[in-house]
Symmetry: C2
Subunit: 245 residues, 2 copies
DNA sequence: GGTACAACCTCACGTCGCGTGAGGTTCAAG
DNA sequence: CTTGAACCTCACGCGACGTGAGGTTGTACC
């Protein structure tokens, strides 16, 4: 009989696991050392170590300790099926992670493009993103993202800054009772349309989604100062643009 | 006073959260309803609901409840920095997920290519993969994977089946004391070299990594019947191939 | 007024893979 | 015989709830 049996500390050092983890495996019956000293110290035999290496292999593939125990328990399991099931789970999680990264990345870019970001702006931006994900298809979102990226942060910043000014100007005209067909309103309406077209890129699907979102979520528009009354005024101004003078 | 306040059940139904979750948020102080009925039923006001929508937004970005409470607590936080930190975490997790998927995918393909997979084969394959990841660079692994994929499952299966036969034949020659320069051994050695070249694709980096692995992990080779003695015999046979008759 | 039944309430334990002590025993060396 | 390292066994803690148990309240119908 050689000195091949290892004590927990040694085994932990060699495997990189913690002593506590090995104790845990013992507790749950996943890896019980085959021997003990008279005083109760754990002694891991070569067979135990082999089992542990199998455990670590399966752990690396993302199996839970319970699944590992089950897998090692029976010799008849279908390896391919087990792996494929696990792969499916992993793929789903990967897709989620990817989506999360996209969201965060997009949000980070929006924040970089903004000038001053209050806590309120921040939360509003997130909510706007959520809305977008609700009303646009993934492909449309991709297209929008691509267009934003093509514009660059500076241009984006400018547009974001222009909107409030444009809305304020339009509101002023409305409150002064200006004719939607008058020259100053035509100019504002033209710019309004340009900005929207810069956003939609002329894509009819995106235009439609945008409309749907505005109809379904009027509160979102209101927060930006675009209440239904103003929108109706803008609508009339647009109609005047299309109609000949 | 209108009927704007919601009870837990209603709020749960509208948000898709569980009642227990809302109770939990109350417990940890993340979202305490501003009002209660005389009998203690929770009443969520419009402000509470607004706060909850912020909570859900941040939750969607993968923040922990503690982080959300902290973020909503202070108005002065740097939104960009918070998001960028979270993004970094998400990217790391994404990379891990991707690696896991790759591993599982590769393993699944290996298993599909194999004919009969015993539990032992299965575990051995995983361990081999781990070894590979230890000795080959990520680029090399990619190249190997690409070559495997190009070969197709059937060809791979054939090669996998040929190795044990080739090893057995070679061992037979060795045990019979055949001259490494003899014709039958030359034939076997030639085939041996061909199979290895099919694996390495002639890439010197991969050849080197393969050698290193064989030196460092002799036990792996032994499991496949290639003990040091046999390997030395093969080495001599190879040398005879290179040297003129 | 009584009687269902749904919706609400408050404990309080379980999950998963250990980390992190607390408090005590054993081992190997000097 | 002492010292310090290595070992032992509890046992609580995490994070975000799920899942009962056991009791009260609200509402509708007879």
């Amino acid at each position: 009989m050689q000195h091949t049996e290892l004590k927990v500390g040694e085994l932990a050092r060699r495997t990189g696991l913690s002593i506590r983890a090995l104790h845990h495996y013992d507790e749950i019956g996943l890896l019980k050392p085959s021997a003990h000293t008279a005083s109760g110290h754990r002694l891991y035999t070569a067979a135990d170590i082999a089992r542990l290496s199998h455990i670590l292999s399966l752990k690396q593939l993302g199996f839970s300790l319970e699944e590992i125990a089950e897998t090692l328990g029976r010799a008849d399991f279908s390896a391919l099926r087990v792996v494929e099931l696990r792969l499916q789970r992993a793929r789903e999680q990967l897709a989620e992670q990817r989506q999360l990264c996209d969201r965060l990345d997009s949000l980070a870019r929006q924040l970089r493009a903004a000038e001053h970001v209050s806590a309120d702006d921040f939360l509003q931006t997130i909510e706007a993103m959520t809305m977008f994900e609700k009303y646009y298809t993934p492909e449309q979102l991709k297209e929008l993202e691509a267009r934003r990226q093509a514009m660059g942060d500076d241009a984006l910043r400018q547009v974001e800054a222009e909107w409030p000014r444009l809305i304020a100007s339009m509101r002023e005209q409305m409150e002064q009772g200006a004719d939607p067909a008058s020259e100053p309103v035509r100019a504002l309406a033209t710019r309004w349309r340009e900005l929207i077209r810069a956003f939609t890129g002329g894509n009819p699907g995106i235009e439609k989604s945008l409309q749907t979102m505005h109809q379904q979520e009027p509160r979102m528009a209101e927060r930006q100062g675009r209440d239904p009354q103003l929108m109706e005024y803008v609508g009339r101004a647009m109609a005047c643009l299309d109609a000949p003078k």
